[in-house]
Symmetry: C2
Subunit: 460 residues, 2 copies
C-alpha cells in the first residue's frame, strides 16, 4: 500500500460521521421500483445521487432516461488514456417495506442500534454502492487524483429485474467502455470471511391467473358444481413439484450442468448444517431435494418459489363465496447453462397442459435474468483478493450467490469484461425482509477496501 493510499484510507475513517449522515439521507428516500406509486421517489433518489457525484468533482454526471426508471451516470477519467478504467455498477432502488410486515422501526427512517443502521436498502444496495463513491472521493480529496479511471453506473430497476438496463448499456457502449466491472451487492457469512461471488443464479418470474365464474358466487347455490379457482390454482401449484421436491416441469433441468466433484468440494467448505439453517430462518425443518446439500440447494441448484398467492375473501370473519379468480406470482432461480427464455416456455407449456377445462388459466412472463459464472483465477479477481487482505484485513473466499443480479451476465456479454462481485454485506442483514440493516463498521471497512482496490487495479 502506498502512502497516498494510506492517506486516503485514514481520511475516509476521519469522515465516518459525515459519510453516515449522507447514507442516511439516501435511506430516507423510499425508492421502490416495483410500485408505480413511488416513481417520484425513485427519480428523487436518482437526482440526489447525481447532485452528490457532481459535488465531488465527477464529470458527465447525468440522470439519463430509460423506458422505465432513470440511470445515474458519472465518471472521473483523470488517470489518463493508458490507465485502466473501472466500471462501478450499483442500484439505488429497493423492494417494498411497510411496518405491517414486521418492521420494528420505520423502514425509511434510518435508526442506529448496536452499530447497525436499520432501514430498507441499507445493505441492498444503497449502503454498498455508496462505498465506491466514498472511496473515489477519498482519493480525490487526499491525492487530488485516483490511481485509475472510474465510471459509475447506478440503476433504479434492479429489484424489478432490470428490464431497461441491457438496452441502455447496448446504446451507450462507448460511454461505458471499461476494463473491469465491480459490483458490491452481495454478502459474507461473517466479517472475518469476506466473499467474492463468482456465480449468480438467473431468474424467470411469471404470474399464473385462474378465472372461474364471471364473478364471486354464493357458495351455497353453486358450490359442488363449480371448480373453485383457488382449488384449481392449488392443484396447478402442487403439480409443479415431484414427490421428492424436485421440479416437475418437463425440460426444466435439461440444461443444468451437473456439479463436478471439485465444485461440490468447494461448496462444501461453506455448507451449513440443518440446525444452522433452522436457526437462521426459523423453519421447523429443512426442505428440498435430499440428493443435494443445503448449500448446494440454495446456491448451485435451480429452484421454484411461490412469491405470492391470492384468491377470494381475506378480510376478517367468514364470507361464503366461491372466488371468481385466483392468482400466484411464481419465480425460478436458474443456474449453469439454463436459458431464462427457454425456462419460461417450459413453464408456460406445462402449466397450459395441466390446466383443467373447468377454469380458464393464463400464464404471463414478468421478467427474466440470465445466470453468470466467472473464473476465480482472473487478474481482476486476484486484485480483489489482495484488496480485501489489505483493506478489510481478511482473505476472501469465493462463493456462488443464490440470488440474482440480472445485469451481471449482460455486462459480461455485451462489454466483454469480467465482473468482480465484492460483497460488503452480511448474510444476516435481512435484505428483502423486515428490519433490513447494515453494519457501520463494515461500511467503513468497505470504503477502505474499495480505496485499495483502485490501487491494486492500477498495477495490473
Amino acid at each position: 500500500m502506498s502512502n497516498a493510499g494510506d492517506a486516503a484510507r485514514s481520511w475516509s475513517r476521519s469522515q465516518s460521521a459525515q459519510f453516515q449522515e449522507e447514507l442516511f439521507e439516501m435511506l430516507r428516500i423510499p425508492s421502490l421500483s416495483g410500485d408505480p406509486a413511488f416513481a417520484g421517489d425513485v427519480r428523487r433518489m436518482a437526482e440526489w445521487l447525481a447532485n452528490h457525484m457532481a459535488g465531488l468533482g465527477l464529470e458527465k454526471v447525468a440522470v439519463m432516461e430509460t423506458a422505465g426508471h432513470p440511470v445515474v451516470y458519472g465518471e472521473w477519467m483523470g488517470a489518463g488514456e493508458d490507465a485502466p478504467t473501472l466500471l462501478v455498477y450499483g442500484h439505488y432502488d429497493v423492494v417494498p417495506a411497510v411496518m405491517e410486515d414486521g418492521w420494528e422501526t420505520d423502514p425509511f427512517e434510518p435508526v442506529v442500534k448496536d452499530g447497525k443502521v436499520f432501514a430498507r436498502g441499507s445493505t441492498d444496495d444503497k449502503g454498498q454502492l455508496f462505498i465506491h463513491i466514498k472511496a473515489l472521493q477519498a482519493w480525490l480529496e487526499t491525492a487530488g487524483a485516483a490511481p485509475i479511471n472510474v465510471k459509475i453506473l447506478l440503476e433504479g430497476e434492479e429489484e424489478v429485474s432490470s428490464p431497461n438496463l441491457a438496452p441502455f448499456i447496448k446504446e451507450h457502449l462507448d460511454l461505458l467502455r471499461a476494463d473491469v466491472c465491480v459490483i458490491s451487492d452481495s454478502s459474507m457469512t461473517r466479517i472475518e470471511e469476506p466473499a467474492i461471488t463468482h456465480s449468480l443464479r438467473g431468474m424467470t418470474y411469471i404470474e399464473v391467473h385462474v378465472e372461474g365464474p364471471r364473478e364471486d358466487l354464493h357458495s351455497g347455490f353453486f358450490g359442488g358444481a363449480t371448480h373453485n379457482p383457488a382449488l384449481a390454482l392449488a392443484e396447478i401449484i402442487t403439480k409443479l413439484f415431484n414427490e421428492d421436491n424436485s421440479i416437475a416441469v418437463p425440460g426444466f433441468y435439461d440444461d443444468v450442468a451437473p456439479l463436478s466433484d471439485a465444485d461440490r468440494a468447494m461448496i462444501a467448505k461453506t455448507d451449513i448444517s440443518a440446525d444452522e439453517f433452522k436457526q437462521a430462518t426459523g423453519v421447523p425443518g429443512v426442505w428440498g431435494v435430499e440428493a443435494f446439500t443445503i448449500k448446494e440447494r440454495v446456491s448451485a441448484r435451480p429452484t421454484l418459489e411461490i412469491n405470492g398467492m391470492w384468491s377470494g375473501y381475506t378480510g376478517p370473519g367468514p364470507k361464503t363465496i366461491i372466488p371468481h379468480s385466483a392468482g400466484a406470482k411464481i419465480s425460478c432461480r436458474l443456474v449453469g447453462n439454463q436459458d431464462p427464455e427457454r425456462i419460461w416456455e417450459c413453464l408456460r407449456d406445462y402449466i397450459e397442459s395441466i390446466a383443467p377445462p373447468t377454469v380458464k388459466v393464463s400464464v404471463s412472463l414478468l421478467s427474466t435474468g440470465r445466470p453468470a459464472l466467472f473464473p476465480a483465477e482472473l487478474p481482476a479477481m486476484r486484485a480483489a483478493v489482495r484488496a480485501y487482505e489489505k483493506g478489510w484485513g481478511h482473505t476472501p473466499v469465493f462463493t456462488r450467490g443464490g440470488g440474482s443480479i440480472p445485469i451481471v451476465a449482460d455486462i459480461a456479454d455485451m462489454m466483454s469484461i469480467p465482473v468482480v462481485m465484492m460483497g460488503y454485506g452480511l448474510d444476516s442483514d435481512g435484505l428483502h425482509s423486515p428490519n433490513e440493516h447494515y453494519s457501520l463498521e463494515m461500511f467503513a471497512r468497505g470504503i477502505e477496501t474499495a480505496i485499495v482496490y483502485l490501487e491494486e487495479l492500477a498495477s495490473l
Copy 2:
C-alpha cells in the same frame, strides 16, 4: 280472500313508492356484520328498524343486546290468546361489498334500473324481511288489526353464522313463543315458480394457517431448502379432495343419508343442464362428482369450498420472497344428518395429520350451522302454498336450499315449531356478489303474499 284482506293488499299497492323509499333508507346503511369497523352501522340499522316498528304501533319494541350485534324485537298481539302466533325471522346484516369487486354503482346507494333496485342487502335480506313488516302494517292501517298475532325477530349476525342468536332464543323462549315461524331469505328460479324451501344445508367454516420461516426470506438465499408456505398450503388444499372431486377427509360422508329414488325424482324436477349452469355462472365447464346431477351437487350433497387464500406479495410487479406464511378460509356446506361439530373434528384431525413437518400448520373453527329439513305436508306449509297461489298468482314448488340459514335448525329444535321458508328473491339476484339486486315487482307481490299468509294461518 276476505274483503279485509283485499283492502290490505290494495292499500299496500297504493303505498309502493313510500315502501320503496323506506327500503332504500335501509339499504343505505352498510350493516356489515363480519367486519368490526362497521359495528356502528350495524347498530344504526338495528335502531332504524326498532324506530320504524314502534312507529307502526308494534309493542315491546326493543334493540336487545347480545354478546355480538343486537337483536331487534317487536310484536303485535292484538288477535288475542286463542289466535295463532306467527314468529317472523329476518336478518338486517349484510356481507361486505366494495366497488373494486366489480360493482357498477355504489353498493350502499340504491339505484333503480329496469324495475330492480341495486344495492348490497337488497335481496339478502333487507328487501325480504321488510315484506313482513309492510304486510303487518297493511293489516293494521286498513283493518285496525291483523288476523293473527305476529312477533318479529331480526338479527344482525346471520352473515357470520349467528353465533349469538341461539343463546338469545334460549334465554327468551317465553317472549318468542309462537306456533309457526316464517323466514323469507331464499329465492325462486323465476317469478312464475315461487319456491318454498324445505331443506337447508348446514356449515362448518374454518381457517387454516401455515407458518414457515419467521419472516419473509430472500428467495435467492434460502430458496431450495425452505418449504414454501404457499406450496405447503396448496398441497394441503389439494389433499382435501379425491381424484373424482369428492372430499377426501376421513369421516366426512359418514352421516350423509343417501338420497332416495323419491328424493332424486323431486330434485330432478328442478335440475338444470350443464349449458344453463355455464350460462348462469360464466364457468367454462361444470365440475363436481359425476355420480350426482348438477342440482343434487349444489343442494342435496355436502361441499367443501376455498372462500379465500393468501400468501406473500400480491402487489404490482415482482418481489422475490419466500413468504413467511400462508392461509385459507375453507367452508363446508352440510346436509342430512351431518353434525357441524363432528365435521370440524374430521377436518381438523385430517389437516393436522397431513401437515408436513417442514412448516407449522394450525386449524381454527370460525363458525358452524346445522342443516335442516321440514316435511312439505305440514299445515303451515299448505297454508304457504295457498298464500302464494292467491297473493303471488302462482303455485309454489318445494326445493332444497343449497345455502345455509344456521338459525333455522335451532328455531325448530328449541321452539318445537315448524319453519316455513317462503322465498321472495330470484336465484339471479346476485346475493353475496357484486351488483346484488332485487325486483321491485317481487317486493310488491311479496307483501301481498305475506298479507294473505296471515289470514291463511288464522284459519288453521
